[in-house]
Symmetry: C2
Subunit: 222 residues, 2 copies
């Protein structure tokens, strides 16, 4: 019973890893589309978000089948519930990448990112990419220590997020308000993406150890 | 077995209704704190968000106990999974109310909302309140028709959200960028709150009918 259960659990884990790959690819393509004002790339990210949504629905089904077939109890049940929460975060990350792509599309043929903010957006894109790929390898390797260590890894994203708001509030910032709106939302999308990556990785601790971890929705203050 | 299952399901349903009440109260107090620059009220919303987070953890536990005790299959299982997704949305709505309160706290003793936008924020707060309370009564009454009809009910919120961005992009908008940032985020928080309310209500259709409904994460484009 336990073995069959863990075989099913491996399927779910593979699905979660695949979702991290799709989310990483979507966000990195969205960042390029944003910085290069690449409409085709942006459209591609937007149209392909459905793939992640579908994977998440499949994962719900997998979990339901697993529960029906294995009838796990206690800790095993919580593990499945945790996997469902992870899938919710990963689908959401795909949506956030799509939002970045939609800002790129909205401002085409212009780039939505003024020159003085390009470096920050590039860094945010890189951190987002690194965090979600690390989350994926943590899910695949079930590396609990790596999962725990990822906890503070989005501090860098949070500080970039704060720096963006400092720049927007500075007297040197003279761009029209619609640019301010775009940058505000973009910065938030990247920060949320990082929050979800860390949350997903941390849930691996529970997935592996069965030690109950409160699954609070994660979020930055701004 | 079915009866015991439905008794457990009623407990979960009551918990979901209670979460809608807490989310509604949090958002309406946050809106007042925002418009009146009421620091104490804002602090209250922020400190009480934990209540919704706790309810959500309890609901996870309830669901796990139900699954362990009743060992439901097929549709019944999907119903429990759906309830878990609803709880995730409701906890998120509490977070969004907390974010509104944090903007109020950040700008205290000023109000973060300029005079010309007060009416829109008031309306957004009222729509948010109405939608989440309707979602709660729909969960309580299991009124599938009402659930279906709520589908388009956040159009009003979406159009207010778009109107905010039109105002921010207009030449008449002469406020400093930090005000633009606040309004951009606030408008997004209200719009997301409404999206989640509608999603929660629509999931009742599945909760009642057992007709599988894709549980896509909801989101506005901007």
């Amino acid at each position: 019973m336990r073995d069959a259960f863990h075989e099913d659990l491996d399927k779910i884990s593979d699905q979660l890893v695949e979702m991290t790959r799709l989310a990483a690819s979507a966000m990195s393509r969205a960042t390029t589309a944003l910085l290069d004002a690449d409409l085709e790339l942006a459209e591609g990210v937007i149209s392909r978000d459905e793939e992640i949504d579908t994977l998440r629905r499949d994962l719900d089904e997998l979990a339901v089948e697993l529960l029906a077939r294995q009838q796990p109890v206690a800790t095993d049940l919580r593990i499945v519930v945790t996997a469902l929460h992870m899938a919710t975060s990963l689908e959401r990350m795909g949506d956030l990448a799509e939002h970045v792509a939609k800002v790129a599309r909205l401002r085409y043929p212009e780039s939505a990112v003024p020159a003085e903010l390009r470096d920050i957006i590039v860094s945010m894109g890189q951190i987002a990419d690194r965090l979600v790929l690390r989350a994926g390898s943590i899910i695949a390797s079930k590396d609990v220590e790596a999962a725990k260590s990822l906890g503070g890894e989005d501090d860098e994203m949070d500080s970039l997020h704060r720096r963006v708001f400092t720049i927007l509030a500075s007297p040197e910032w003279r761009h029209p308000a619609d640019v301010t709106v775009d940058i505000t939302l973009l910065s938030r999308y990247y920060e949320r993406f990082a929050d979800h990556s860390v949350a997903v990785a941390q849930q691996v601790v529970y997935l592996v150890t069965g030690t109950w971890k409160a699954l609070d929705a994660v979020d930055g203050d701004r």
